[in-house]
Amino acid sequence: MWWLEAVADGFRQPHASIQVCAFRVILAAAMLFKFGYEHRRGGWRYFAPDSFIAYRFRREHPDLPVGQTRYRILYLAKLAAAIGLLVGVLPRVSAVVAGIWFLFELTYDRKYHTAYLGLCSLFLAFSPALGDALTYRTVLAALHSSVASVLAEEAARTQVDIFAQVLLVLLTAQMYLSSAYRKLRSEHFMSGAALHDFAGSLHRDRRLQRYRDTWYPPVMVRYLIDVPVAVARRRWRGPAVATVGAEFLLPVALLVPVTYPVAVAFGALMHAAFTALLPVRLVPFSLATFGSYLLFADPARVLAWLG
């Protein structure tokens, strides 16, 4: 398996730059989606003096001197970093800046998708291939010659240092395995109670939310939410067990070349289900995670496929 060989060879293995660059573009798109909807929902004012988010931050981190001005400087830096990453301007610097932003974001809004995006961004910064393909230069070159020839020329570029790709593959695999193991040990999750509580709370408060980002089909509400607690939990137990099983199997299937194509399709379905439970908020996470599947593909096969 390529990743074992890459580790054995000291992270030296020829690979197509476009593989990691495609992930760079997907990750940047996920960030911009997240930043966009958060901005629309008041992100710029999160650290205003009368905001609860700033109040909670000060209570939790009295030693971190971040007020509204510093928050907004970081806010602009994260936008610049995401755009830089998308178009390939100083991509490694952009990846580090975005990663630092996400680490800061975790101090006032601890969410696992934020941690995942941040770690992806920081690990991506290790790649020397980030600026090789799918950048603003691609667009400029396409103005003077055909898109196909520009992409073919970029697809032929290779690098030998595969460290970043190995780290990102490791991160996604560990994320699934850790999630499955901790869910398995959680009675709250395995009983179906956690999923019922989560969906039920969002459904109950649906009219109080300033932005309606959650909507569950009436049949789901009748069958899984507006029923006695014991019945609902019993019905959620199946999806809970299936999630744990899927999260244990998926990384293994992604890492084995023979099962890789099936794992990609299966992962897409699983993330679609997760996203349905928490639409909008989970889109960036699902996008980035699914995008990372590109990095599980055997680099030698990708090189051969690209010709």
Partner: protein, 110 residues
Amino acid sequence: MGWQVVQWVFFVCLLARMARVGFFGPPRLLAWPMFSRVSHCLMDLRDQDGEPINPWLDIVHQDPGMNGRELSWYLAYLREVRGLRANGTVTLVDYTGRQVLTVRDGYVVA
């Protein structure tokens, strides 16, 4: 050669941390217990003038998660920053079950 040594050291340290934090101990960076311990506060609160208090206008967008400690911060925020003294009930839903808390004059009293 020097860079490869850095890569190896980083890789081994990362692997060790992933194994330890990912599977054991309290959740920290590189632990992924998504949905394992969900906690929410379902609030039915009104201020001293009888106006309903909508926490969704104050929390991070689409973030219903709030535990007992954060609830006390929220009530303190309402008192200290907004000048609101909440009254009503809060249903705390977490892995231990459901607990209905009574809020009087901005404080949890029972």
